[in-house]
């Protein structure tokens, strides 16, 4: 399954973040790309819960530390209501132990808060182009979690955990060893974009668990 969709001419961004300086930073960064739009901003979980799912945004930047709710819950909600949107976690440290929960909740990538404007734009471009940044430690955690799962293996709550393909495993191994996408592409004899696609698939597989769970809960409540 490929996610190399063509870049939309206008990228719509929604920011869920209580820190005003970050809002200013994002606005400042977007000045570099006049064709992108900040289409919405929520400072609280309550506001975002109502507004964000109804937005036409393509990319959501979600802060995990909202004052009135958990970022992971917001990710779950958006994963269900906006399955085609990219969900980027906005984090200060990129600490993997917390990040992996966010990814399991449906995030498709993350951006470090300390980055400069160019880096932010690049991260968003990268994810829209079908790639997602992934750290060696995160790759290692994913490997550990997904590597030995047989296709039919069933998690505690009854949903199936998808298994890794051989190529995905190779990609993850190299990421875990510190190689960047370009090096991985060279080593495996594939294109850089393909590497990005594999990584993005990994993110999806990680969150499948959450998506199935959310859909099931929605069905039970008669929402779907």
């Amino acid at each position: 399954m490929a996610h190399n969709r063509s870049m939309p001419s206008i990228t719509r961004i929604y920011l869920i973040e209580d820190d005003r300086t970050v809002l200013h930073f994002v606005q400042h960064a977007l000045a570099l790309r006049p064709d992108w739009r900040l289409v919405g901003h929520s400072e609280t979980f309550a506001h975002a819960r109502i507004m964000a799912p109804n937005s036409l945004a393509d990319v959501y930047l979600v802060d995990l530390g909202l004052p009135d709710g958990r970022g992971e819950d917001m990710l779950r909600l958006l994963a269900l209501t906006k399955p085609e949107a990219e969900l980027l976690v906005f984090t200060v440290f990129g600490d993997e132990s917390r990040l992996i929960h966010a990814l399991q909740s449906g995030a498709t990538g993350y951006v470090l808060k300390g980055c400069n404007a160019t880096e932010l734009i690049e991260a968003i471009e990268q994810i829209c182009a079908g790639g997602a940044p992934i750290s060696p430690l995160l790759a290692r955690l994913l490997l550990k979690q997904l590597r030995n799962n047989a296709p039919a293996q069933v998690a505690e709550n009854g949903s199936a955990i998808p298994a890794l393909s051989e190529r995905e495993t190779e990609v993850l191994k190299l990421v875990a060893q510190g190689y960047v996408n370009k090096e991985i592409a060279t080593r495996l004899g594939i294109g850089t974009a393909t590497v990005s696609t594999h990584i993005k698939n990994l993110y999806r597989k990680l969150a499948v668990h959450t998506r199935v769970q959310v859909v099931r809960a929605a069905q039970e409540r008669g929402l779907l």
């Binding site: 440290f93 600490d95 060696p136 430690l137 990421v175 060893q177 510190g178």
Partner: protein, 649 residues
Amino acid sequence: MRGLPPLVPRPEPSAGRVPNYVWVALLLLGLLWALHSVSRPTAPEGSVTLRHALASLPQQPQEPPQRVALPHILDDQPAAWWGQVDYQIEWPRELHYDDPAQTRLALLLPRVGTRFRVLLNGQEIYQVGWYAAPERNILSAWFPYLVNLPPGLLQPNPQHNTLHIQVQGQLLERSGLWPLQIGYHGSLFERHQVLEVWQVKGTWMMLISSLLMGLLSLHLWRTLRERLFLLMALAALAHTVRLALSVSLEPVLSYGWYFYVHRLAFTWYVGFFLLFVAELLAFRDRLVRGLAWFLIAFGPFWLAWTLHTQNYDFYRLWAGVLAACGAISLLWLLLKARQRGAFDADQILVLMVAAFTLATGVRDFLVVQLNFPGDADLRWTSLGSLALLFTLSWVLAQRATASTREVYRLNQSLAGTVAKREAELRQAFEQLRASEQQRAIEGERRRLMRDMHDGLGSQLVQTLNMVRSQRDTLDAGSVESMIHHALEELRLMLDSLEPMEGDLATILGTFRQRVEPALAAAGIELDWQVQDVPALPSLDAQGVMHLFRCMQEIFANVVKHAQARRVCVRTRHDAAHVYLSVTDDGVGLQRPQTRLAHQRGLGNLRARAGKLGAELRFFNARPGTGVEFAFPIFRTLTPEAVDTAPPVK
């Protein structure tokens, strides 16, 4: 020999409850009455007891018949009587009949032998062992016989009947003829049944009981190793042998051996029994033990002498010695026990039953050996001995039960103590673990504080000082760069806390993420040749931080001084080590101005590598410089590392 302590707690009879010995006393009295009534010399109705006979010696026809009183025991007669004797029975006047053909008469011989035959009017009508070869050992005297008088042989006039009982004696055995009864078959049949039960069936039952008790005691002795059980077993088994020989019409042993074993078994029974009682009453009394050992040790010789001399008086004397030793011992123990204070219920019981047994023994001695009045057909001693064995077994069973109960109680108490200690140990262990954990947390906290102080803290202080000192000419770019450094420092520290599980490749990859932008900015290309290597336990959170610092130092040198364009990071391993090398293609250590800084950095690198347990090596990469860490795969922790490092996961 290991034994139970003499003061094993026994269940005390509660007040108001009748002690066991009272019931046993009643039972024994009942037994005495039954014995007395069974062995009372009475003639059943319709029968006559004959107490005299005309005795003659068939080998000496010249001797006139003598009228003798029954029992007539051949051992007590002169030697001429020790062979065959013919007893002519006078037909009693009160026994008459009208029609012989309609008359069912019988003769009851409670004790006769050791071989005999009965002749009615010259015709043999019954015999036991009469025609057996002389060397065979036939002992008819242990059994009662009921002999039918065939009506066809009876004379029309009762007084014309002649009745002869011929006996072959066996020296040393009490052979001869005892009082007999003649009368109607029906009444004598019942009497015969009673005698059969007491003499034969009763003996068999006693034999089996005694054997069982002996084997059981032997087993208990093997299990508990208490001397009492062994003495009990020996006494019971000796008694068993005696009883087994007493119910055989033809024992397998020749008469000499039979006499010896039978009498010796009884002697040893008495000896071991006395030892047992002395032991049971917890007296190590020398008199009783001396008497008992005298009987056990001296008996075989005395009996051999008796056998040799063929003089029954010697055995009679020995039987008296046995009775006397038993009586003296029991009286002596009784006196000693009284001196020591009150008896407990078991001791009273044993003494009472022993006295009963002694009484039966004395009675038998008087009636059988000394011909006192009484029915010698029944030996009371057998029953007395059985009662004694039962009592002793009961007492022993109680002791065994009490000891088992005690062991159970001790086990319970032990289990309780063990459980308590276990709980204490677990608690202590938990405390220890908690304090260990606390210590590890403290250590980690100190390390973090140190790292923050040296890294992040100093970065922030530098930034602050710069902002203060250059307030007017502040360069935003410099401030941004310094704050960016501080943030990177903080991220590095947080990275080190991630669970990397000693995976060198991932640790280096994480470091690469942090350092790559700086390298790119400096125009240095990174050649990444990292491969999976075995996990290194030394790379815990603290180890990771040390490694990060080392790498920072090396890369800082490369960026600032080496003038390199390319840096290669490589990992590999062999059986003993994991190697990490960083090489650049710069100017190396040639330039003097770089030496000082490098030496300082070198010291830091060496110190950190030491804490990681790794060997550090610098080499010339031609061009450029190389640094190599060699981590032992099975590193033993140094005391210093143990002291400061948190536990390795």
